[in-house]
């Protein structure tokens, strides 16, 4: 590890980290926003589930680099456009979260939902006041997984020239310079930890009852 190189190139390291963050934030948000309604639909309709769950499985099976190459044709974007990465990573996030969210909604259980309807909730209120809050903890766990895998996948974009911490992998390899690659790996892990902390804190703020229940049990 050559720390003088790290110090000398701090500007570029920060710039690439920022680019990395910019490409990652949107897919994490979008996958949660898109996956929850899809999962709710799949949870309530057997026929929708039979189509949606396998589709999410297939999406998840698509390899990342080929998908980055394929999307420009589908979207009409240029190959270097970061939008390709955003769309690809959102697809992966949705695929991963749909499964988690369907399981989460299933686990809420019929009886609880019937009880909620019986005391006068409308179906919409059942979703917002009963199902979504109860499905919160597994959704939070799923979002943490999406965040970690998104941050590590972004760097693959470096192979087709989209700037991110992955640049240090391709450049470091071409120069035979391990320090540079280490900077990329450590930077990615640091970003993953920061994102994880933010998601956990956001989860605590949005789902305060989870901690309260834990404390009572513990």
């Amino acid at each position: 590890m050559r720390f003088d190189w790290v110090a000398d190139n701090m500007g570029q390291i920060l710039m690439m980290s920022w680019a990395h963050v910019q490409v990652s934030v949107l897919p994490i948000f979008l996958s949660l926003l898109i996956a929850v309604p899809i999962a709710w639909w799949a949870h309530r309709q057997k026929s929708a589930r039979r189509v949606l769950v396998p589709i999410s499985g297939v999406l998840y099976a698509l390899p990342s680099l080929p998908l980055f190459v394929l999307l420009p044709v589908v979207l009409g974007t240029r190959i270097l456009d970061p939008l390709n990465l955003v769309v690809a990573l959102t697809l992966y996030g949705v695929a991963l979260l749909v499964r988690t969210a369907v399981d989460a909604f299933d686990s809420v259980g019929r009886i609880i939902r019937d009880d909620a309807l019986a005391i006068g909730h409308s179906p919409r209120q059942v979703f917002w006041r009963v199902a979504l809050p109860l499905a919160g903890p597994p959704l939070l766990a799923g979002t943490r997984v999406v965040s970690a895998s998104t941050l590590s996948l972004v760097s693959v974009g470096a192979l087709i020239g989209v700037p991110s911490l992955g640049y240090f992998f391709t450049n470091g390899y071409q120069r035979g310079f391990p320090t540079e690659i280490m900077v990329g790996v450590i930077g990615t892990v640091v970003l993953a930890v920061i994102f994880d902390v933010i998601i956990v804190v956001a989860g605590r703020l949005l789902l305060p009852w989870v901690r309260a229940t834990d404390r009572r049990r513990g």
Binding site: L65, L70, S149, L159, Y173, G176, A192
Partner: protein, 234 residues
């Protein structure tokens, strides 16, 4: 969409299939890298996972390792090993196989221990009471009952390895990633797209094949809801 037509024309052009740089050779190389890594990963993950599932020891460690590995960027791991290992640059297959195996281990490990753990304890006690020793319990009771989950783990591992073997081309190895990187080097988007379609098709075909294997492997008389074993993120 005209690019798709070009890419399909490239794919069906018989001139692009034979020879050491042809599509056939690249597919075989790709599958070979994946097979090497999967065998290495299975040899490590299966005994470890069955042990954790059977004894309940080391579970926290396995979960921690699996989570930590998820955050590690595969391209970073690949280039770092290639540059730092003494053989890394000359024999790129070594770092490539190690990294692919590292990526395949978490889903296999998770499937093995969660599959064994999911076996009804009464069934295990029953087997013990009928005189089976611990090895026989693992081999004749727990593994067959965990088979659908084990294959589910294999499915995740195969997909992960097929996808990441594409990146091995960056270390100068063959495989289908060659078409993507070589195409990019000369701004030949048709070849890049053709290569991308080949990798995606390979992944989907193998995914479908393993899914069939999984259906077929459910022990007769056992009606477990088929977990597809997507136990990890990518």
């Amino acid at each position: 969409m005209i690019q798709f037509a070009d890419a399909f024309a490239w794919l069906v052009d018989p001139a692009n299939w034979p020879g050491p740089n042809g599509i056939t050779a690249r597919i075989l190389e790709h599958l070979w890298y994946c097979l090497l890594a999967l065998v290495l990963a299975l040899v490590i993950a299966m005994p470890a996972g069955l042990y954790i599932g059977h004894t309940g020891k080391g579970r926290a460690l396995a979960i921690g390792l699996t989570g930590a590995l998820r955050a590690l960027p595969s391209l970073g791991l690949l280039t770092l090993l290639a540059v730092t290992m003494s053989l890394g640059l000359r024999l790129a297959i070594v770092p490539s196989t190690i990294v692919l195996a590292i990526l395949a281990i978490p889903p296999l490990l998770a499937a093995a221990y969660s599959g064994v753990e999911a076996v009804d304890p009464d069934v295990v006690d029953g087997a013990r009471a009928s005189g089976l020793n611990e090895w026989q319990i693992v081999g004749r009771v727990e593994v067959p009952l965990a088979a659908p989950l084990l294959v589910g783990g294999l499915r995740s591992a195969v997909l992960q390895v097929i996808a990441t073997a594409t990146l091995s081309a960056f270390l100068g190895l063959g495989g289908l990633g060659r078409f993507i990187l070589d195409g990019q080097a000369v701004a030949d988007y048709t070849r890049m797209l053709g290569g991308a379609i080949l990798v995606i098709a390979l992944a989907l075909i193998l995914d479908g094949g393993i899914l069939l294997l999984q259906r077929w492997l459910v022990p007769s008389g056992v009606s477990i809801a088929l977990g597809t074993g997507r136990l990890e993120g990518r």
